[in-house]
Structures are given as C-alpha cells and as structure tokens.
C-alpha cells in the first residue's frame, strides 16, 4: 500500500493526536509569525521615532568657537563650503540623513509687526548612496516659508491664515505654521536652503550640517567610540569642519534598538526550542501508540526505511498544515494589529514574504528533524514486540 495513503488514513483515524500536533505547530508558528511581523514593525517604528528625536551629530565649520556657539543658543556666524556635504557622500561617511543648513538672525515682519528671529535655510535630507532611507526632511517649496509656532504668535499669524511675511525685506508666502515642539525651532522661520543662500548673499555656504550617525551599533560591538570613528572620517575628508556629537541622544538610540532586537531574538530562540521539544514529545507518543502497528508492518514486509518514511510523512503533512495555519493566523493578526500599534509606521508596513517563508521552512524542517528521532527508534524496533511479552 502507498505510504502516503497509509499515513493519511492513520492521521484521520488518530485525529485527536494529529490535531494536537497541528495545534502545537500552529501555535508556535503563529507566535513566531506574530513576532516576526511585530519585530519588523518595531524596528521601523523605533528607527522612525529615534530619527524624529532629531539629529545626533552636527558638523560645524572648524572655525566655530563652540563655547560661543552654545552660549548663543546653538548658532554661529561662521560658514563652510556646501561641498563638505558632497565630500561626506563620496567618502561614504558613517552618517545618514545629511541636512545642510544656513542660519542667520534676521528681521521678519508682517504689516506693522516685526521681530528678530532665527532664519534657517534648510535642504531636503540627503541619503547616503547604498543606504536608502525615507527622507527625514522634505524640500521646502520655493517662495514659501514655514513659521515656528511662537514666531507665528509673535507676528499674530493664525494657523489657517494665508499671509505673506517679509524676511530681510523679501516677501515670502507663509506655507505652514509648524506645531510647537518645545525647541528653538518654535521661534524660527524655515525656507529653502538655496533661497536662504541667495537672501543672505552666501551662495554655496552652509553654517552647519545635521546628521544621524550610523556607527554606534558597530562601535558598541567592537568597543570603540563612535565619536572617534566620525572624527577620523571627517579629518580624512576636510579640515574645514568639526564634529559635535549629542552623546545622550546617540546612546539612547543605540540602546533602545539593541534591547528590542535582543529581546525579540531571545523570544524567537525560546519558541524554536519549544517547537523542537514539543515535536519530539508528540512524535514519541505517536510512535509508542503504534508499537504493535510497527511490528505488524515489519512482519508484512515493511523495512526500516519504509516505516521511517511513514512516520516522517506524517510529521511533514501535519507540520505543513500547522505552519500554514500558524503563518496565516500569526502574521495576519500582527499585520492587522500593527496598523494601530505602530502609529508612525504601521500604515507603511508591508508583509514580509521572506521572513514568512523562512519561518515556514525552518518550522517544517525543525518539526521533521525533531520527530525523526522517535521515528528512527520506531523503525528499528524489534519486530518480536508485536507478538507480546510472553516467552
């Protein structure tokens, strides 16, 4: 008789124990699938949130007196060539999201109200080649400005109002009043970098470049300081610029990403071990239940290989069903939940077919390998056992 048919009949006959195996494989695979989708969602959400905290590296002109810079509230008159950005890109420095800026204090006025505020020319964030990232800063529209909330209040501009503002005597349409974020940005005005350079007559000049370092995790691993890596890189590129690292932000960013990844990895390892142990136990139970059956199959001419095949076929069939249901259930639930759970990135989460395939293949292989141990023992059982224990 065909071993597949024999196996199918046995599975339906012992439907309780078969269902138990499917249930175990399904539950563990579902949990793995759930964590896989969640892990991918977490990673994206943490990356986005830590990115949104702001840049943790500032590249300033080398001539900036950092004491004065901080005393003045993080602004200086010194500038450097915008080419530094291109040099960083060509060098593939350990930085992401490069945002060149030109900042000056200047006069903003609307009708009869005027204030001196920080005027920030800002470029769209520039990705490093080979490290594609969603933009941290979008390009501002030409001829338009965005106002910090406190500045708008000072100029008596409401959020919905369509109004023009004079900056150093040039008129710009207010594109948007930004929400308050509790920083200097609330009292600043933002415009496109090229327009700011033109406005201040400083073509090709920037006063700082903000960025996010991407060395931290490797540095942690190899026990070197990110700051040292970045300083060395910058020294190799130019002597026009100096680096300022916001330590706390950088460390928090690395730490939170590492902890979440380590936890998920630990959880996955625990689940894989559980699957292997459950399969060994349940398969052993099945082989014990079938002691007499193995004996009769041997008596009827089934060799150890064919008996092993019958047991393994059972494991494969049940594991495939369990894995399929588990992936659909686990990934599906996590995917639906992710839309609400990850408020910043949930809607952009895509189903990760590679992870789902990897989990499925590993779960099936692990189930089969785990159940092959009791199957092997069953296939090599003494056929005499079928005739009873009596002498």
């Amino acid at each position: 008789m065909n071993p597949l048919l024999l196996t199918l009949r046995e599975i339906t006959h012992r439907w309780m124990s078969s269902s138990l195996i499917v249930l175990v494989v399904m539950t563990i695979t579902a949990t793995l699938g759930y964590f896989s989708v969640n892990s991918s969602g977490y990673k994206k959400e943490i990356t986005r949130n830590t990115r949104d905290i702001g840049s943790n590296v500032v590249i300033l002109p080398a001539s900036v007196d950092q004491f004065q810079y901080h005393s003045n509230g993080g602004i200086s008159d010194q500038t450097m060539s915008e080419n530094v950005v291109q040099q960083l890109i060509q060098y593939k420095a350990s930085l992401n999201h490069l945002i060149p800026m030109l900042e000056r204090m200047g006069e903003c006025s609307v009708n009869d109200r005027q204030v001196i505020a920080r005027i920030v020319g800002i470029s769209a964030s520039i990705p490093m080649p080979g490290r594609p990232k969603s933009p941290m800063q979008k390009m501002l529209n030409g001829g338009k400005v965005q106002l910090g909330s406190l500045l708008a209040e000072e100029l008596s501009i409401s959020r919905e109002e369509s109004v023009s503002v004079l900056i150093n005597g040039r008129s710009f349409l207010v594109d948007r009043v930004n929400r308050s974020n509790g920083t200097w940005q609330d009292s600043s005005v933002f415009l496109d970098l090229a327009e700011a350079q033109s406005l201040f007559g400083m073509r090709g000049q920037v006063s700082r470049i903000e960025a996010i370092e991407c060395t931290s995790e490797k540095c942690e691993e190899f026990g070197v300081q990110s700051e040292v890596v970045l300083m060395n890189e910058l020294a190799a590129i130019t002597d026009q610029a100096a680096i300022l690292r916001r330590d706390r932000m950088a460390i928090a960013r690395v730490s939170i990403r590492k902890i979440s990844q380590d936890n998920l990895q630990l959880m996955q390892n625990v689940l894989w071990s559980l699957l292997a142990m459950a399969m060994i136990g349940l398969s052993a139970l099945n082989s014990i239940q079938r002691t007499a059956e193995v004996g009769i199959l041997q008596a009827l001419g089934f060799g150890p290989g064919k008996i092993l095949c019958v047991f393994l076929l059972r494991s494969i069939l049940l594991a495939v069903v369990g894995v399929f249901l588990g992936i659909v259930l686990g990934c599906g639930t996590a995917f639906v939940q992710a839309q609400d759970l990850f408020t910043a990135t949930g809607k952009k989460l895509r189903f990760d077919w590679n992870s789902a395939t990897m989990i499925s293949v590993v779960a099936i292989m692990l189930s089969v390998i785990a159940s092959s141990i009791p199957a092997l023992i069953a296939s090599r059982r003494d056929p005499a056992s079928v005739m009873g224990k009596e002498y």
């Binding site: 008789m1 024999l6 009949r9 046995e10 339906t12 006959h13 012992r14 007499a292 059956e293 004996g295 009769i296 199959l297 041997q298 008596a299 009827l300 001419g301 089934f302 060799g303 150890p304 003494d382 056929p383 005499a384 079928v386 005739m387 009873g388 009596e390 002498y391």
Partner: protein
C-alpha cells in the same frame, strides 16, 4: 522425513532473555522440522518458550544460538532487508491479538504488504464469506470475522509457511473450526503450519504435537486425532 521436504527447519535453537540483569534461558538446543503438508502443534505452559520458538521460526527474533531455515534458506544469515523481503514472500503470521490496522478497511488490511494481488484477496474474502464486509473497518466486525480477516492476511501472499500463535484464543468452537479447517487446507496444498495453541480442537487437524517443557520439545504424538 527427508530434509528436502522440510519447509521449516530449526537446528540447535537456544534462547536467553536478560531480565533485571539475570539471564533466563527459555529454549535449549531445540530441533524441529515442519514439512510441506504438515501442521505441527506446540503446547506448553505460559512462559514455557512457545512464543520465542515461533518468533525464531518466523525469522522475527534471532535466537541466541542455532539455525533457522525456511525453504532451505538460513534466515539469520541474510541481511536485514533481505530477511524482511524473504519473510514477506514466504511466511504468514497469525497472532492472537490479530493486529489488524484499525484505520484501514478489511480489504486494505489484506493488501498492506508488498506484492499482494487484489484478485487473490477478493477471492479469499469470497471463500471466507467476508466479501460484503471488505470495505468495513475492523472495529465494525465481530471477533470471528476479524480473526478470519487476519487469517486471510496471513495467507493472501501465498506463503510457504504460516506461524500462528494462539489463533483461536478468543473464538467459540464454530469459529475456531473455521480457522483450523482453513489452515488444514493451506497445509494440504503443499505448505506448512507451525502453531502454538491450547485449543483441544486443534488435535483434529494437526499432524504432530509437541510439548515444550523444561526448555526442550517433547513429542507427544502424531496422526489424526493425536
């Protein structure tokens, strides 16, 4: 009896079991021949070694010492895979506990082994009055019907030898006679049967009877009615 007519030949069979670190000998230097056309009956008390002798004779368990030949071939000189194949072609087994697979139908139980012809299975089902139950599962049959199914499975691949261990242990006299008559017909067709049984009816059908006592086979008698 000449050696050439012997289907089963046991020479110098001894067997020991290890129980709790102690060696218990159940068979000692046992010789037995079963020729074609013969039913040989083994009797003995529980634990006397009957089952061990049958297991050795059927090539299911290698004795500690001795030689087992079926159809002139020494079973334990073969490789395991060759022995399994040889057993499945030449030996049929009939157990007291029947060992029908509960999830297969009567017919599927019969064609489970390799090389079994459906035609032969259907013909035997017809002979044993089980044609109408061929698609039923063993659980829905009476004990007598299940025993007949097991009997058909033992002979459906047309073996030379049937090894039967208490085949009528749980049967009434009528069903026991059906089983023994079938075994008699099987032997009369030029085959051999080695059977362990306490059933008194068996003496009407067997050719020789042995008593297994003190690890040795003692001949009690031969001929119809013994």
């Amino acid at each position: 009896m000449s050696d050439t007519n012997n289907i089963l030949s046991l020479r110098g069979i001894s067997h020991q079991y290890s129980v709790g670190g102690r060696q218990i000998e159940v068979l000692s230097d046992v010789d037995l021949d079963v020729a074609d056309g013969e039913i040989v009956e083994i009797q003995g008390q529980s634990g006397s070694g009957k089952t061990t002798l049958l297991l050795a004779g059927g090539g299911m368990q290698k004795p500690t010492a001795g030689q087992v030949s079926v159809g002139g071939q020494d079973l334990f000189r073969m490789t395991t895979s060759n022995r399994i194949a040889y057993r499945s072609r030449n030996i049929g087994y009939l157990f007291q506990t029947l060992q029908l697979l509960p999830y297969l139908t009567v017919f599927q139980n019969l064609i489970l082994g390799p090389g079994v012809l459906s035609r032969e299975a259907k013909s035997l089902l017809e002979q044993f009055g089980l044609s109408e139950r061929m698609h039923h599962k063993p659980g829905s049959l009476s004990h007598g019907q299940r025993q007949r199914t097991a009997l058909i499975r033992a002979m459906v691949h047309q073996p030379k030898l049937i090894i039967a261990d208490e085949p009528t242990g749980n049967l009434d006299e009528e069903n026991a006679r059906i089983v023994f008559q079938a075994l008699r017909r099987f032997a009369d067709a030029g085959n051999a049967v080695l059977i362990a049984s306490h059933d008194p009816i068996l003496s009407d059908f067997s050719d020789r009877r042995y008593q297994l006592e003190e690890k040795k086979l003692l001949k009690e008698g031969s001929g119809p009615g013994i």
